[in-house]
Chain length 463, copies 2
Amino acid sequence: MNKNDNLSEWYHNILEKTDIVDSRYPIKGMPVYRGWGLFMIRKMQQILEEMLEDTNHESVLFPVLIPEDILGKETKHIAGFEGQVFWVTHAGENKLERRLSLRPTSETPIYEMFKLWIRSHNDLPLKVNQSCAVYRYETKHTRPLIRGREFLWNEGHSAHVDEKDARRNIEEIKRIYKKLINDYLCIPFIISTRPEWDRFPGAVDTFAFDTILPDGKVLQIATVHNLGQNFSRVFDIKFEDKKGEHKFVYQTSYGPSFGRLLAALISIHGDDIGLILPPRIAPIQVIIIPILFKESEGEEIINYARMVERKLKRDGIRVRLDNSDERPGAKFFFWEMKGVPLRLEIGPKDLNENKITVVRRDTKRREQIELNNFDINSYFEKITKNLRTTAEDKFRKQFLTADNLDELKTHTGKGIIRTGWCNDRKCAERIEEYANILSVNKKQRRCIICGSDGTEILIAKTY
Amino acid sequence: MNKNDNLSEWYHNILEKTDIVDSRYPIKGMPVYRGWGLFMIRKMQQILEEMLEDTNHESVLFPVLIPEDILGKETKHIAGFEGQVFWVTHAGENKLERRLSLRPTSETPIYEMFKLWIRSHNDLPLKVNQSCAVYRYETKHTRPLIRGREFLWNEGHSAHVDEKDARRNIEEIKRIYKKLINDYLCIPFIISTRPEWDRFPGAVDTFAFDTILPDGKVLQIATVHNLGQNFSRVFDIKFEDKKGEHKFVYQTSYGPSFGRLLAALISIHGDDIGLILPPRIAPIQVIIIPILFKESEGEEIINYARMVERKLKRDGIRVRLDNSDERPGAKFFFWEMKGVPLRLEIGPKDLNENKITVVRRDTKRREQIELNNFDINSYFEKITKNLRTTAEDKFRKQFLTADNLDELKTHTGKGIIRTGWCNDRKCAERIEEYANILSVNKKQRRCIICGSDGTEILIAKTY
C-alpha cells in the first residue's frame, strides 16, 4: 500500500482492512462504523465532552426529527440547507400532516427549547452540547468519514446576555478545539475567518479550522459561528435583565466533525504499512507478543507476558496480549497495520534478564530495557510529540506564498496558498477561477479562506 | 408530590423538575434528553458495553436508514413492524427512488452485512452490539421514557455455528442483563418465555425481562430472542464448516431499553421528595454542603470542605461542593429531589473535631463521623443493598397467585398474577379477557407471560 502515490486508494484500503468503516452498506454516503474506528470517534467525543462539561456545558440529546415549520423559521438558515434535507413524510400507513426533517444541524430545534428554558439573566449563559449524527443529502462525490450523508459530530449551542460574552465563549471554544485537535490528535491546523459569502447560513461570523491532507487538499474539520441575534429574534429567545428589561440573547454555535478528524488523523499520520495512532486515542495502546523458540519455554514466557499485561492494566493502559497461534511475524504485521503505538516483544532473553523489548510504531526503533525501568507514559509522550512535530513540519511545507500569478500556478494543489487580495468578493473569485483553471481536474472544489486584515487571502483545493 | 396517590403525576413532575427529559418538544413521543437523565442512560450504556466487550462483542454503529427492500426481506419480521415505520421519501427537491425507513430495530441492516462478514467457521461466533436510537410510530398513548417514538437502547446481534452455541449465548446475555438491572440499578424483575403469539417478529423464542412499577402495572425492560435460522436463510448468511460444507448460521438478538430502565429506576426507588438514585448510576454521588453560622468561620469551613472534595475526587467519586448563596435548607431540598445518594454537611463542629456529618438519601439517617474513618464505598454498598432489598420486598408483594376467578378479580391490577392454564392460546385469551373485563379502565393493555411448563400462566396489566 503506497500512500504517497495514491492517497485515495491507500485510504479506502486502510479503512476496510483495519475495521474503521465498511462502505458496502447499500446506501450511498452511509457506511457502517466498525469497532476500531468507532472506538476512536467515541474517545474523541469523551475528551471533548469532558472539556465542555468543565466549561459548564450541559450534555443533552435532541430528537433526530425537526418539524418543517421549525427548521424553516430563520430564512437564510433554511435557504442554506433546504437542498440537503431528508424528509420523513409517512409513518406506518399514514401520510404525516407536516413533514419532518432529519436534522442537518440543530440550531432550530434547540433554540425552540431555549425559548422555554431562558427567562432571566440568571439563566445565562446557557451552554449545551450534543454528540449525534446529522444528515445531509450530499449530491457531490461522497467519501467515507470525509463527505457522507450521515455524519457524527458534536454540536455546541450557547446563549449570552451580550455580544461580549458570546465572543468570550467563541475564544474558549477555539481553545478547547485546539486542545483536542492538536494535543490529543496531533493534527496541525489553521483557524481563519470565512469570507462573508462562505459563512454558516444565519451566522454573523464563521471561524473555520482547516488542516491539509498529504495530497495537498484542505479538509475543514471544525467551525465556530457567531450567530448574533439572528436566531434569537426569530425564535423569540428573550431574557429579563437586572433592570427588568426584556432583551434578545446573543448566540454562538460550534462543532467539530468526528469523522473528518478521524480521516485527518489516518491520512496525516499513517504510512505504507498502515495506521499510526496517537497513544491517547488508540483503541489498543500496547500489544504484547510472546516470542517462543522452544515449546519448553512457552509457559514461563506466557506467564511473564501476563504479568506485564496485568501491571499495565492496573496503570489504566489499554493493553492486549496476542496469544494466538499466528507466527510472530504475522502478528507484527497485523498490529503495525492497526497502528498500535507500542509493541512489547517478550522472548527467552527478556525473560531471563527481567527485561522487555519495546518497539515504537512511529520510529520503528527497538530497544531492550529493564522491566523495572519501563516508563510507559514517557514513551507515549515521545510518540505523541514526534507525531505532532512531524505533522507540523509537513504542514509548514504545504503552506505556500504566491507573489504573482505564475507562483499561484506552480503552487496550486500543493497546499494552502497565501496571496494578495483587494478585500472584495470579485477579486477573490478571479483568484479562485485562476487557480481552478490551473487545476488538473476541473471538478475539484476550491476553497477561499480569508485572512483577517483584508489584504491577503488564502486559497486551496478542498475536499 | 405524593407518589402513591398518583404515580403518573408524580412521574411527569419529577422528570421535569430534575432535568431528566423535557416533553415539550413539538413532536409527540419525542422528548429532549437533558443532562441529569442523559448521564444515567450513558452510564448504563457504558456498564453494559463493557460487559458485552468482555464477552467479545464488537461495538459498531449502523446507519439509521434502512432501504425498504432490505427491511422487508423476512416476511414475519416486516409484518410485525410495517405499521410502525417512519419513511423517508424525499431528499432536497428529489423524490427518492426507493423509500428509506428509520430503523425500528436493526436485524435486517446488520444481517445484510453479516452476509459479507461471515465466510468460515473461524468467523464464528460473530457478536456485535450498538447503542442507538430506534424509531417506532406508536399510535398508543405515549409516555416519556416508557413508550415513545424515538427510544434509546442497546441491541446485540450474534451468529453461531449451531443452535447449542446460540443458546449458550442467550444464557450469557441473560446473565449480563441480570447484572446490569439487578446489581447496578437495583431493579427486581422476572424472566419469562413469551407465548408463541407474543414473540418478536421473526423469532423462534422470545425471553422477556419484566418489572412491576408501584402502580401494579408491568414494564417490559429487555428482551432476548432466539432467531434460529429464520434470518440467515433469507439473508443468505452461510459459513463453511470444518468439513468444507456450507451451512446457514444460527442467530440471536437482544436489547434492553435504556429509557424503560431509567423509568423503572425512577418509579421504583423514588419517594415523595423526589429521586433516590443507586450510587453507581448517580450523576453526582456525593454533595457537600458547608454550614456557615458566622461570617468569620466561612473561609476555614470552605477550605475544609474543598479538602474533603479533593480527597473524594482522587478516589474517583463523582462529588460536588455546593458553594452557592442559597440557604442550607434550600440546598438540602434541591439535592434530595435530585436523588444524590449521600450528603455531607460540614459545619463549625465538624471542622473543629475533624469530622463530617453524613446523611443518607435512602434512609435519611444522619451521623457524625471522623473524617479519617469515612469509608465511602461501604456507604455506597449499604445504600445499594437497601435499595435492592426494599425493591425486592415490594416486588414479592406484587407477585400474586390466583387459584380461582374470584381471586383473579381481586388481584387484577395489583401486580403479576400467577394462575392455572391449559397450555393453549384460547385458554390464555379467556383468562386475559376475564382480567380485562374486571379492569377499571378497559383501555389498559394486558400482558401474558407464560410459565415454562405449560400448566401455569402469568398475567398482568402492562405499560
